[in-house]
């Protein structure tokens, strides 16, 4: 049986998910994701017509609170567990790198 998901699709999805996969992983995931989606063929084939989708098991309502000042997490404690910080902010490498 031909695989439902190709190597190219796996490479594309990995880029979206910010994962760098080895050649072996690309083959493995193409095969395993195809298997899992084959199992999901039962719902893919289902005629669900105009049934409303449910994204949450309970009815969701917007939750408001009074607009009052209250303490937040301690800034030094939060920055203290960050990989890198500078001047009270999270520090990252250049965002706009060289064209590549």
């Amino acid at each position: 049986m031909s695989e439902r998901i190709t190597r190219d699709e796996v490479i594309h999805v990995a880029r979206l998910a910010r994962l760098d996969l080895s050649d072996a992983e690309i083959d493995e995931f193409a095969h395993q994701m195809s298997d899992i989606l084959d199992h999901a063929a039962d719902i893919e084939a289902l005629d669900v017509g105009d049934i409303e989708p449910t994204s949450h098991p309970l009815p969701m309502v917007n939750v408001f609170r009074a607009d009052e000042r209250r303490p937040s997490l301690d800034r030094d404690e939060v920055l203290g567990v960050a990989p890198a910080e500078q001047d009270g902010q999270f520090r990252v490498p250049p965002i706009l790198g060289e064209e590549r």
Partner: protein, 482 residues
């Protein structure tokens, strides 16, 4: 010794919390190397909590309902200043700057935290084999898995490292390990227990819940952790847990449905083993003997749960785990640009199963496939909610096995994701619907290992699951299970 007798003895001054802790830590020292229930034993924290309880008792101050009771926390619960890893290299060494609401409530109730328990990485798995720090072994047979993902919490209770533990359940991760380790585990109604500080896997499915050696202890723990929390916007308002009140109500006249599709009846899912089905039938007979009205019932969409779950859960996971980007906490692998750093960090930090689910979820949510998979899965969720709602018009509770088999040997299912995923076939429906479910031990399988029977109830009827489980437990103890 039960958690409730420990709490009573400590509160009355008959025993000190410090001596209770010593006894449990002695067992940890004896067997932990073999079992590996914990990612971290928090002895120092436990001693300070036990000493505080003892000081309060000595001073005649009021103590909480779990005073001096050792308790294990799954390592996906934020504990301020105490490493919290989710059994992932990407969070190794991270110390959260805040406590989960459940952790605060337990501390206020007088519990003594003995450690952070091992899990499948980010709670993705059914055997605890996916931990970046090595598997947990089943205390009843160390050649077998403890179940998962809360395998460390279940093993900690089964090995009597602590009489109580907290786990989280996204597709069965409390109930299945409880079944495999011969203890009680319960998944509350979605929104009954605060998720604040639960490191998210599938946000519309995740719930914290109790593990204990018996139903009464599980109910007492449930009553401490459940209830409204303004810090969780999905927390149910005006909900007062009263599980303990349900324990002695019995099942006289209660309408019990046996779900045909999940119990080996006509049109049932495959792979349910004969010994597990036999114990489930005996459990049903025990309820009938105790006065319940028992009938087989059909929930047609229950068989679609597995497919829907393995679209919805990875989709939510791929979104939730986007936050591990090496910027604010956890691992960072250096690279010349932020984009490359993000990718290098995630590639090095996540294990194979987590990558597989992120990939699957990203695919299911990507342009061109969203409607075919994710959109469909959400509609299946609606179908399941409707099917269960119509069944609950005629039934108070439903019965199924908790898991298709007893605890399986290491490596038996880890090579093929689909064979591992079918473990969750009986537990998944209540995560998709948000309904409560409990697993209670009922006899043993052909291999001598415990079988768990599952009691399901409609939303907010959490107390009812404990009520029925208490009757099953009494019947099993009286020899009603073979």
């Amino acid at each position: 010794m039960s958690a409730r007798s420990i709490a009573a003895d400590v509160a009355s001054g008959a025993r000190s919390a410090a001596s209770v802790l010593d006894e449990h830590l002695a067992r940890v020292r004896e067997r932990e190397e073999e079992i590996h229930a914990f990612n971290l034993v928090t002895e120092e924290k436990a001693r300070s909590q036990a000493d505080a309880v003892d000081a309060a008792v000595a001073a005649g101050d009021p103590v909480g309902p779990l005073a001096g009771v050792p308790l294990a926390l799954k390592d996906n619960m934020c504990t301020r200043g105490i490493p919290t890893t989710c059994s992932s290299k990407i969070l190794e060494g991270w110390r959260p700057p805040y406590d989960a609401t459940v952790v605060s409530r337990l501390a206020d109730a007088g519990a003594v935290f003995v450690g952070k328990t091992n899990l499948d990485e980010f709670a993705m798995g059914s055997s605890t084999e996916n931990s970046a720090f090595g598997p947990t072994r089943n205390p009843l047979d160390t050649g077998r898995v403890p179940g998962g993902s809360s395998g460390g919490s279940a093993a900690a209770v089964a090995a009597n490292f602590a009489p109580l533990a907290i786990g989280s359940d996204t597709g069965g991760s409390i109930r299945q390990p409880a079944a495999f380790c011969g203890i009680v585990g319960m998944k509350p109604t979605y929104g009954a227990v605060s998720r604040y500080g639960l490191i998210a896997f599938g946000s519309s499915l995740d719930q914290f819940g109790p593990f204990a050696t018996d139903v009464a202890d599980a109910a007492a723990l449930y009553d401490v952790i459940a209830g409204h929390d303004p810090l969780d916007s999905t927390s149910i308002t005006d909900f007062t847990p009263n599980a303990v009140d349900h324990l002695s109500r019995g099942v006289q006249g209660l309408r019990v449905g046996v779900v045909r599709e999940l119990s080996g009846g006509a049109g049932s899912v495959e792979g349910l083993s004969a010994d597990v089905l036999a114990r489930t039938n005996e459990a049903v007979e025990a309820l009938a003997a105790a006065g319940a009205i028992v009938e087989e019932v059909s929930v047609p969409s229950a068989t679609l749960g597995l497919s829907a779950y393995y679209i919805v859960a990875p989709a939510e996971a791929s979104s939730n785990l986007a936050r591990y980007d090496g910027v604010r906490y956890g691992l960072r692998v250096d690279a010349p640009t932020t984009g490359e750093m993000n990718t290098a960090t995630r590639t090095a930090g996540f294990g194979a199963e987590v990558k597989r689910r992120i990939m699957l979820g990203t695919y299911a949510l990507s342009a061109g496939y969203y409607d075919a998979f994710y959109g469909k899965a959400l509609k299946v969720r609606t179908m399941m909610l409707r099917d269960f709602a119509s069944v609950y018009e005629n039934f108070d509770v439903l019965i199924t096995p908790t898991a298709p088999t007893t605890a399986f040997p290491f490596g038996e299912r880890s090579s093929d994701p689909m064979t591992m995923y079918v473990n969750d076939v009986c537990t998944i429906p209540s995560n998709l619907t948000g309904h409560p479910g409990i697993s209670v031990p009922f006899g043993v399988g052909d291999d001598g290992l415990p079988v768990g029977v599952q009691v399901l109830a409609p939303a907010l009827a959490d107390g009812l699951t404990f009520q029925v489980a208490a009757v099953l437990e009494a019947a099993a103890n009286a020899g009603g299970a073979t």
